[in-house]
């Protein structure tokens, strides 16, 4: 007996009173929901992923999309998703892939943390009146300074400083490769970061030449596949990031399927068109923490010690000890990618079940580095699940120097978090390489949207700081006294080193 068809995930309907048969829904849907038959629009709801491209471009608001029109027998253990995954694997016998980040309803620590504000005893600061210092420097800081004072009274700095990245707001855009996202999407992000004084990452997809004008604001990535990596690429980057792991799929590599390797992606990655781009699970020249040091130093040596080198690891159980090892590898910053981090494609079992939340990871990494007296050796960048300015403020209080955002920047370009990036037919032109879809993005319009988002969050961050009586981000960093836990258990409060509300 076959399993038969599973209940519809979404039910799409068009109000005939409103519809004027303009056909925009037919043109815009890349998943094949609509087709025009004579003077009727036929709907195949089964193909719908709720990406809202059709509703966004329907001039009459005629389209309605209802989620889960047919209920399964409700059951707290055998959820809809669990049952549907079993149906899928019973039919295919394969590993289930999906896009975006963790889709299980794990408790959100960010939403159980509240921020502080001044009342009476010390005055809050008005950012309209007072300067708020949001500039951050990423990279090694010397443990001490040696100064030489001349007889005239001039002071000379004898300590040799290592290169740092100067960011005007602690919000950067994380590594999303050309291949995972489209070129216009990368171009929009590049324009946005260059105008807001911050940085974006290339991901492991090389650096397309149309991004060269923005290279001063681009961090180039070296991952296990070494795609697109040569000396020109390393020299163009403002910094170099070694990707060891990713929050969406800790412990495994990546496979960009051949369908997404068009001529231009092939050129940027320096691999043949149409072949799979396979990033091995580990870096095969890094089998130990000593080997990591060798790769960090090889990158510095290749670029004559002029660029900071970051190391990105996924937030896993022993993240603090691993980060302490990274801090001793000559790396300038460690990026911690939490288990809510997004991806173009990952096995669902990894995306949803492997790794730990960024809040706990950052707090424990910061505490470990401080306890070992090496917090100055590396900057700490938080990534994976940063949704709003409040999350930025909270994670900085827990010890981060800056954050990477990914999904939030894509949402600013139209992404509706439908979670089907892996299929490569993104109707918004973001997670696809099909020219008819990628041309839906306009790098300039979308750059302005991303720029607006960064600007808005930065303003909110300044307001939050001012309200807390803080005028420099340096004073917010690791400032756990500005946080209180609301209904968090004692064990987690201890890990976060945060008091409960009321205490």
């Amino acid at each position: 007996m076959s399993i038969g068809s599973i209940p519809l995930r979404y039910k799409v309907s068009i109000d005939p009173e409103q519809c004027m048969l303009c056909g925009r829904c037919v043109d815009n849907c890349s998943y094949g929901v609509y087709r025009m038959e004579g003077d009727k629009i036929r709907i195949n709801s089964r193909n719908c992923v709720a990406c809202h491209r059709c509703t966004a471009f329907c001039p009459r608001d005629a389209i309605s999309i209802h989620e889960k029109p047919t209920d399964y027998r409700s059951h707290p253990v055998w959820t809809r998703k669990i049952r549907e995954n079993i149906f899928n694997q019973a039919k295919t016998g394969k590993i289930i892939l999906a896009g975006m980040g963790n889709a299980l309803p794990w408790p959100m620590i960010f939403d159980r943390l509240v921020l502080d504000a001044c009342q009476v005893t010390n005055p809050s600061i008005d950012p309209l009146r007072e300067p708020m210092e949001l500039r951050t420097y990423l990279g090694k800081k010397p443990a001490s300074l040696t100064l030489l004072e001349s007889k005239k009274g001039d002071v000379e700095l004898l300590t040799k400083l290592t290169p740092n990245l100067q960011i005007e707001t602690p919000i950067m855009i994380g590594h999303m490769s050309y291949g995972a996202i489209s070129l216009p999407a990368q171009q929009a992000l590049a324009r946005a970061v260059s105008r807001t004084g911050t940085f974006m990452g290339t991901g492991e997809g090389g650096l397309h030449e149309s991004l060269y004008p923005y290279q001063k604001n681009i961090i180039v990535q070296v991952a296990s596949g070494r795609f697109g990596v040569d000396i020109n690429y390393l020299e163009r980057g403002a910094a170099i990031e070694i990707k060891i792991g990713q929050g969406a799929k800790p412990g495994i590599g990546g496979h960009l399927p051949g369908e997404k390797i068009c001529a231009d992606v092939a050129c940027t990655r320096m691999i043949p068109e149409g072949s799979d781009a396979i990033s091995p699970t580990p870096h095969h020249d890094i089998y130990s923490i000593e080997d990591l040091k060798q790769l960090v130093r090889s990158l510095k040596e290749a670029t004559e010690w002029k660029k900071p080198v970051f190391v990105k690891i996924a937030a896993v159980h022993n993240v603090a000890a691993i980060a302490a090892g990274v801090a001793r590898s000559s790396a300038d910053a460690v990026v911690i990618d939490g288990f809510r981090g997004g991806t173009g494609a990952a096995p669902v079992v990894f995306r949803d079940h492997v790794g730990i939340p960024i809040e706990a990871a950052i707090a424990s990494v910061d505490a470990k580095l401080r306890s070992q007296g090496i917090r100055n050796e590396v900057s700490v960048i938080a990534s994976g699940g940063i949704r709003q300015s409040a999350d930025v403020a909270k994670i900085i209080c827990l010890g981060a120097d800056a954050v990477y955002i990914g999904t939030a920047a894509l949402v600013a370009m139209g992404c509706r978090v439908c979670g089907t990036c892996n299929r490569g037919v993104c109707a918004w032109g973001i997670a696809t390489q099909k020219p008819e879809l990628t041309q839906r993005l306009d790098p300039e319009t979308n750059a302005v949207q991303v720029e607006n988002l960064i600007h808005g969050w930065t303003l909110e961050l300044a307001e939050l700081m001012g309200a807390a009586g803080i005028n420099s981000i340096e004073s917010l960093r690791g400032n756990r006294d500005r946080l209180r836990g609301y209904m968090l258990d004692e064990g987690l409060l201890n890990v976060l080193d945060v008091k409960t509300i009321g205490a």
């Binding site: 590993i95 596949g225 396979i278 096995p347």
Partner: protein
């Protein structure tokens, strides 16, 4: 053109590389480095078409990493991953080399006179005319050509060495070709690779490479060219296409 000689005795790799870069910038075409003893990263990220660097001694790991252009000739053994992510140029090793030789190499040539360690030619890749080549005179350890995405590996099994007698050859290979002098036991083949005797056309393709290798070490190529070869390549350019839903 005069030869520049650098004494690497007690010299850390950073000042050594700085010195090499300076000499290349000044126009040196022949650089000889004496007393090399474990310095890593020699020629790391170095450009310079037509520049030849002779290394006398034993260089440390990641020799010629990211290198784009020069030729490095080593009179001695080399450590871990010579030619790592190399782009262009040539490395000739008059001795043996460690693990992960030619790791992720995207272009250029590496000739190793004797043996190499594990994972030789791992994840080598090719793009258009850039086609990396690794030739090993002696034998290779396990996982030769693992995850290989492009390029050519040739293992000759000279001096009585078997080309290899270990598992995992071409494990996860999805591009490129591995040529082995003599027969290969099927048990040595890794996941996703298959073997076939070399065709005349393929033999012609590798002939100039073998001749060049033999010339580099003063070996008579006649017996090498007369031998039978086995070609190991991917069963598919999309080995994992059927793994996911």
């Amino acid at each position: 053109m005069s030869t520049v000689t650098i004494d690497a005795k007690n010299l850390h790799y950073t000042p050594l590389n700085q010195r090499i870069r300076q000499e290349v910038e000044k126009g040196a075409k022949e650089i000889v480095i004496n007393n090399v003893l474990g310095q890593r990263f020699i020629g790391d990220g170095l450009r310079g078409d037509g520049v030849t660097i002779t290394v006398n001694g034993v260089p440390g790991g990641d020799l010629a990493m990211f290198m784009s252009g020069p030729t490095i000739i080593v009179h001695g053994n080399a450590d871990h991953a010579p030619g790592n992510t190399m782009d262009k140029g040539m490395v000739v090793i008059h001795g043996s080399a460690g693990d992960a030789v030619a790791h992720s190499m995207g272009g250029g040539r590496i000739y190793v006179r004797d043996n190499i360690g594990y994972r030789g030619g791992i994840h080598m890749k090719r793009y258009l005319e850039k086609r990396p080549v690794l030739v090993v005179g002696g034998s290779a350890r396990a996982f030769l050509g693992e995850s290989m995405a492009g390029g050519i590996i040739i293992v000759l099994g000279l001096n009585g060495a078997r080309p290899f007698a270990e598992q995992g050859v071409g494990s996860g290979i999805h591009g490129g070709e591995i040529f082995v002098r003599g027969p290969v036991d099927d048990l040595c083949l890794g996941n996703g690779s298959r073997q076939a005797p070399v065709t005349d056309e393929q033999k012609e393709m590798i002939r100039p490479i073998i001749e060049d290798f033999a010339r580099s070490f003063g070996i008579d190529p006649a017996s090498l060219l007369a031998s039978e070869y086995t070609r190991i390549a991917a069963t598919s350019a999309r080995p994992f296409a059927s793994k996911y839903t």
